[in-house]
């Protein structure tokens, strides 16, 4: 199925849920409201043949109002097309429905995302930390946790890119 067609189908079916459709990057990128994420991805899987969840990861844009995002990459083997679905939520209510009912692969990937970004996947069967230690009390990939020791005074951040 051609990209414009998928766009039209999605816009048709989810006109209130789809926030943005972007074709400029390497694959069709759809941003949807978080309330509809399971519905949209379920539709992509059941109706449009995106049977394979390639990747699921979090992202943090501290300057946005809805700062925390989850990025899903889906793959349709039959037409050999990929689609990227994004959804955003605020740091105050970092809750997004789980995809584990649709894809068993989402289990650990969601745990990893929770582990690093603190995004709570509601309905997940076992949402505990996976790579970090259990007693870690912060979410390390959020941007407010800088990698380097910020008490250092001998290094000027301007010279190191950030």
């Amino acid at each position: 199925m051609e990209q414009p067609m998928i766009q039209n189908i999605l816009l048709d079916k989810f006109q209130h849920e789809v926030i943005n459709i972007d074709e400029s990057s390497d694959m069709l990128t759809v941003t949807v409201r978080k309330q509809a994420i399971v519905e949209v991805i379920g539709f992509l899987k059941e109706e449009l043949g995106y049977l394979f969840l390639t990747d699921l990861c979090g992202i943090h844009y501290p300057d946005q109002e809805l700062a925390l995002g989850v990025v899903y990459h889906l793959h349709n083997f039959q037409t050999n097309t990929r689609i990227r679905v994004k959804t955003f939520t605020s740091v105050a209510t970092p809750e997004i429905s789980t995809l584990t009912d649709l894809f068993s692969a989402a289990n650990w990937m969601e745990r990893e995302t929770y582990d690093f970004f603190g995004i709570i996947f509601t309905g997940h069967p076992n949402l505990i930390r996976i790579l970090n230690v259990e007693y870690l009390d912060y979410f390390p990939l959020r941007k407010e946790y800088p990698l380097e020791d910020q008490t250092r005074t001998d290094k000027d951040n301007r010279f190191f890119g950030r």
Binding site: S25, R82, W108, Y135, P140, L141, L147
Partner: protein
């Protein structure tokens, strides 16, 4: 210390009256071939349930990458699947090239294919010979490790390193293949079929090996897709998905090769798929060597490709580029790319988001064995402990890739 997850280790109260025992397989058990733990609930010799604990060698690569210049991230990717690190290196470099819009020449592509296929051979050799070891046949392991050593010598000749190779650069290679490299590859490829044949004679139709591996740790194609399997494990289940064919990168489209698929998705099929992939890799390397075009071994990417040392010492402009690259002062364009290569274990993906700074805004590695290892309990439930160990080694779970 009560928050250390003891509830997973202790027997649950509802299981008190059952004759289940708990067995800790790992974290440093030799059969796990890496540091990760399996807590098995056993009824005698039968596995009732398994629970994996991963993260023992988690090194926060995704966070580290956010403070590193692009060329410095290649060294992080070495340490993902360390049995085939050149694939990871080149995969990352191609991701950056995709973001920068750099098209590489055929010569670079073919050189990359040669190296990536060598890495795939070394990965599959280790995995398959270890299946042999875990089923009690140590001999084959010793045979093929000599060949792996030769592959490492080729790496050494190309880039100076053996395990964590940091091979190649953004835009090509740091130096051309020397005659010694070509000679070593040719010698290796000429000799390898004999050894693989010998190895297959030992195991492929061996009654004991077949009894130990057929119908062990099987998974259906449907479940495998649902679990996000890729690579040999998915193909053993009967799905012919290979990134090299579905989205040919690095001129894989120029070559004629077959993607082997299995039918049962069990340990034996995974073994056979890997063996056949070794044969296909040999064919690919031979073809790429024969048709290796002349030309430069790197593209003109002055912003990211280090100039030659002689020029740095003699030309002002080269010195400036050298300084800027080494200090990581090169801004990258704003963009978002996902690029994947067929690693030893499956689709190794790089999701790179750049905000126009000097480092990635976000970099996520899609590590194939992290995703498919979660199917392990489903695959071993109801089987014997010795079968679980074989299943694990045939899934080729590499701790570095698991934990990133």
């Amino acid at each position: 210390m009560e928050h250390l997850g003891k509830e997973h280790i202790l027997i649950r109260p509802e299981d008190y009256d059952k004759n289940f025992s708990t067995l800790n397989l790992g974290p440093t058990h030799p059969a796990t071939h890496g540091i990760f733990q399996n807590i098995l609930t056993m009824n005698g010799e039968t596995i009732i349930d398994a629970e994996q604990t991963v993260g023992y060698i988690h090194r926060a690569f995704e966070k580290l990458a956010e403070r590193r210049a692009f060329y410095q991230i290649t060294t992080l990717t070495d340490r993902l699947n360390y049995c085939s690190s050149p694939i990871n290196n080149i995969g990352w470099q191609m991701t950056v090239e995709k973001l920068l819009g750099v098209e590489t020449s055929k010569r670079i592509d073919y050189m990359r294919i040669i190296i990536m296929e060598l890495a795939r051979i070394s990965d599959h050799l280790i995995c398959n010979s270890v299946i042999g070891v875990d089923s009690g046949a140590l001999t084959g392991f010793v045979y093929v490790f000599q060949e792996r050593e030769k592959i490492y010598e080729i790496y050494e000749e190309i880039c100076g390193a053996r395990l964590t190779t940091n091979l190649g650069r953004i835009g090509g290679f740091e130096r051309d293949f020397t005659p010694a490299v070509i000679h070593k590859i040719k010698e290796f490829i000429a000799h390898l079929p004999k050894v693989i044949k010998q190895f297959e004679d030992l195991l492929l139709r061996n009654r004991i090996f077949m009894d130990r591996t057929i119908n062990v740790g099987g998974i259906t194609a449907d479940r495998a897709l649902n679990y996000g399997f890729t690579g040999p494990c998915l193909r053993a289940a009967g799905v012919d998905y290979d990134v090299r064919v579905m989205k040919p990168y690095s001129s894989y489209g120029d070559f004629d090769f077959t993607i082997p698929v299995g039918t049962q998705g069990d340990t034996y099929d995974r073994f056979c798929v890997r063996q056949e992939e070794i044969w296909q890799s040999i064919k690919l390397i031979n073809n790429a060597l024969e048709n290796l075009p002349e030309g430069s071994f790197h593209m003109e990417v002055p912003e990211f490709y280090l100039p030659a040392k002689e020029e740095v010492y003699s030309k002002m402009e080269s010195l400036i580029w050298h300084f800027k690259i080494v200090m990581g002062e090169m801004d990258v364009p704003v963009g978002e790319v996902y690029h994947s290569v067929e690693g030893g274990n499956g689709e190794l993906g790089f999701y790179l988001v750049s905000d126009g700074g000097r480092t990635p805004f976000r970099l996520h590695f899609r590590r194939p064995c992290f995703i498919y290892y979660q199917a392990f309990p489903e695959m071993v439930k109801g089987s014997f402990l010795s079968d679980a160990i074989l299943t694990m080694s045939s899934m080729n779970v590499i701790a570095g890739e698991l934990d990133a």
